[in-house]
Amino acid sequence: MSHIAEYKTDIKLNLGMRNSSLSLNVLYKTIKILAEEMKADITNYIETSTVRKEMCMFSLRGKGFERGIGINIGLGGEIHFTYYGEYKEIAEDIRKSFEQKYKAVALSFALKELNYGVDVVKEKRDEIILSAEV
């Protein structure tokens, strides 16, 4: 028998002592993938409109968002995106792409933990498809 299950999802990093490194691994891998895809640099600060540096956990800086989009983790494990200036649209694009990729990375790690071999069948902005087989 086969079944298809559709889920709504929430990303909230698990910051408990035992699992925080797992969540952070997924976070870092997701940011690396995003940076590669957007040809952006990963740093740890963004710039305000007066070119003052503001520290953050990670930031992506690239063409069209030179002052950077900051990525921080809230106390409850939620992800915040921070920016100054006119980056609203690009920040929203990055947030959506981040969410999609984070889920793909987390699912890939979890399936590997269940001893599946995981392949990426298709990876585009509109859809990511993974195939997992024991």
């Binding site: 298809i4 999802t9 999609q100 024991v134």
Partner: protein, 70 residues
């Protein structure tokens, strides 16, 4: 054992296609996956589950584009 095909669309919706699992074993696998995903900071909230007949399953597996068509 079976195969799991994962679709994540641009809105972040996750669709899992469990192919070739015996009986209700796909439900156990789905539960295990949810448990592990929680450690990685991802919560799957119960959505829609569609059981497929054998012929539907074959149709999914044989699709050349690797897409699921229901």
């Amino acid at each position: 054992m079976g195969r799991i095909k994962v679709h994540i669309d641009k809105t972040g919706k996750v669709k899992l296609d469990f192919i070739g699992f015996r009986g209700k074993s796909c439900f156990n696998e789905s539960d295990k996956l949810k448990e592990i995903l929680a450690k990685y900071g991802l919560t799957l909230k119960e959505g829609r589950i569609i059981e497929l007949k054998q012929e539907d399953s074959l149709k999914v597996e044989n699709n050349e584009e690797g897409e699921i068509i229901l």
